[in-house]
Symmetry: C6
Subunit: 208 residues, 6 copies
């Protein structure tokens, strides 16, 4: 594989998730970016309706909890958000990228770095719960192949990890969570990316 493709965390808004297809597990990337605009959300990557809903839930959570997360609410009206999930030709669906999407969006709206060698999988709910998802064994093996060191999962998926032969996963650290704020705390560094976007409200900027 192409190491450069994902071992770099210099860009805000890109988080590694875990997918499960008929031919086995795989890693996937949630890429998000901001551009000056009016709060439009664009989704690409051949996403099904359930996966699109996950992005909508993640945005609603961020908007409702912006104070706690440290995002100025003005940002949501002054920037357009784009979420893309490569590769473009592969149809993707399901709720299990919810935590990955929320983490990517939090990173891009705070410009905080994402922890390296970390992947995650889990459904999110509007009030901030992390629900279990399927295909855990296949996802974990894919993560290992891709040099992932830490994995975030729902507490309710712990039982699936316990069923995996220990020798396979001895190099991996698992974080079991039940709330979205735990995910954000585990996945994002305090440090901002190099050359972060200036997301301070336009009004403030024009006053200066």
């Amino acid at each position: 594989y192409d190491k450069d493709l994902y071992e770099n965390n210099e860009v805000a808004g890109v988080v590694t998730g875990l997918a499960w297809t008929q031919v086995g597990g795989d890693i996937l990337f949630i890429e998000s970016s901001l551009s000056p605009g009016k709060g439009k959300l664009t989704l690409t990557g051949n996403l099904g309706d359930v996966m699109k809903e996950s992005a909508s839930i993640a945005m609603a959570y961020l908007r409702a909890h912006s104070n706690d997360i440290g995002i100025d609410a003005h940002v949501f009206d002054e920037w357009d958000v784009h979420i893309h999930v490569p590769a473009g030709a592969t149809p993707k669906d399901g709720p299990s990228a919810g935590v990955t999407m929320l983490t990517a969006l939090t990173s891009v709206f705070t410009q905080r770095k994402v922890k390296k060698h970390l992947a995650m999988t889990g459904e999110i709910t509007l009030r901030g719960k992390v629900l279990p998802v399927g295909g855990i064994k296949e996802k974990i093996l894919a993560a290992k192949r891709a040099n992932i060191k830490e994995i975030i999962l729902s507490k309710s998926n712990k039982k699936d990890i316990l069923e995996i032969k220990e020798s396979y996963i001895k190099d991996l650290t698992f974080h079991y969570v039940s709330e979205m704020n735990e995910v954000i705390q585990l996945a994002l560094l305090k440090e901002k990316v190099n050359k972060p976007l200036d997301l301070s409200p336009k009004e403030t900027k024009s006053k200066v």
Copy 2:
């Protein structure tokens, strides 16, 4: 089951409903949240058209009766509402979550706490009636398994309860209602949640 998932009522806008599927009854959660906006309603959770209509009816009822319920009408134009029904991968439909949606929305727009260990099921109409729904026996058994203590139903569903063996339901309290305002009175506490949202009109806020 994961107790934390629903025994907590510290968050406004989350109410327990009862669902009926081909594999039996189940509990479900209506999650609602507000974020600063312009009155947009977003629905997620793989909902069918009839269920989406229930949310639309609940919003229309709230807007038409905001005075009686104690909601300042400005709120509807200054906040976006999101309703989500986990889990995201399960298709859901039918009118029976109407009372649950109305209760969730009333809670989120008043920031009042929802009573603990309470569940409900029933269709709503625009003028405030509560209509009977199907699958009562299966729903009640699911409620019991989930540690529910009180259940709100349409008066016209009383006959379905009377057909259930009494030993099964001796620990449950049933509330039979015919009007939405009875539901709200039964389900919401006077007390607001901890750290309630400040929903006072923006104009007032900017005056101060």
Copy 3:
């Protein structure tokens, strides 16, 4: 049946219609309500395209004849209208609820009471004609079972009534109409409902 459900006429905007399904006739309710807004029309109740068109025709008729009916035209731009037809799970279609929708809308926009024990069925046209509809016999029998005393029909449906055995319908009064304004005059009382909505134009209100 639940008498409370429809024998009450204390709410403006609710009118009893007659429906005809494969399993016989039935009564149905057209519920309408207003909330502060910008003139948006929302339709719920699992309605087919033809039935939705009836609502659109009724609104156009009201807007074009507001002076004659005694509605200040400003109202249409300052309130949102919602029309719901319970029950939510039953698909409904056809033009025969046209007169019922027009009557419900006229009641809600004038806040006038609807006559008790009255039902109606008939298609409406844009210039105010009332056209005949099918299933008259089944609809009449359903009306009788539901304690209806008076029924409004198109003049062209008189022949269908004459074919019904007289003993079946001796307690019913029939009103045969050819114009919408006859329907409104027959169905709405001069009296307003208790605690009517204040629909006077916003501008006037803010002047005071």
Copy 4:
């Protein structure tokens, strides 16, 4: 048949057309009405796409030729137009109601009376041509049954009339046209309807 239904021409915007179905010819009514608004066009009556396009063409023609026809262009931005074709349950399609729609719209925007006992059928084009349509024989017989005295047709449909046995049509007057302005001149009286709408520009009105 119900004479009142169409022998009256006291209302502007209602014109009689001729339709052709599998069970023979029939007359139909194009009903149009205006209400204060912003230029929205609404179409009802279970119309197919080709028939909806005819309405769009008729509106475009009117807007492009408003000066010649004597309509103040402001009217198109200050009034909403609704076109309905009863009966609501019957699907209708095809371009042959084009001339009827154009005539109805011209009547409603000028408030001029429509000639009595007149029917028409013909496709319209954007530059004002009247094209021939099918089913002429069946349409003519239907017109006769409905007490129609004069019929407007495309010049190119003259050959279809010549094929009809003369005794059938001796009471009918045929007008063969090739341009829309001929239709309008033939179908609309100079005289306005009783109590015409005041369509003078709002600006003018507010100046007074």
Copy 5:
């Protein structure tokens, strides 16, 4: 055929194209017209998606090259454009009307007369190329039957003309082009139509 229908070029915006159907070649008309508005583009005539795209490409080309063509860019924001392709009941598709649409739009936006006895067929691209199309032989024969004297084609269609027996086409003049601007130069006269629309910017007009 009806000579009047197309031998007249007194109206701007109407251009003769060539179509190819399963039953042979035919001529068609692209009709375009302007009405005061905000730049909306409406397409009628039962057009398929590819043909609708041709209209969109033609508009984009006109907007991007308005200076060269002599159109004041304000016009695009102050007028609505309607393109219709009779007859309304016939489904039409394909890219071969591209040059005809572009020529019609150029005529309507400049009010220049279209050359008489001229027809054309060819696909257009966004940067102004004219691409070859199919069915040339059938189209040419149809043009001849309709008294066309000159035909504009893509250079790459020259080989198709060379395959036609010369006696069939000796009365026709062919123009082979590779760029749109050649088409416009060949098809439009310098002369404006009689009573041209006043398309000068509104601002200028209100200054006077």
Copy 6:
């Protein structure tokens, strides 16, 4: 083939890509153009959803990196963009035109010339990666036939080139890239096209 069709690079916004169909490889052109507007993106050329998403990703990348690329962000709100991919009748889909679209858009928004005799193929991602695509051998042979001299590919497609018999490709230069900015640097000249559009912000222009 028609050399003029693509050997010219005097127009900004037109870039040569490589396509792969069931009948072999082919070259294709991404044509883009700007017209005064409000930032609307229009796509034509019978494009499938995945290909449309590529255009959306390319626009998002440009907007997010406008500073680095040397585009004033005002431009995106003051111009409409149209992307067309001839020929109009051929359905096209897939992510492999991503780099070509991004290059075309960059050229049109900077008015920089595109290098001659250059073609490219590759999927793009939102954070600027270039991913490998399929059909490399067929695409390369098509490029050769079309007199292409240089080809840009994803690094991950190098292995596909190494499998092609060397004699076939000895005249071609291959550029293997992993980031979008490499593509732009390779494909666009510093030099602007002849008579470039004036894309300076309107505000600046009106000040002068």
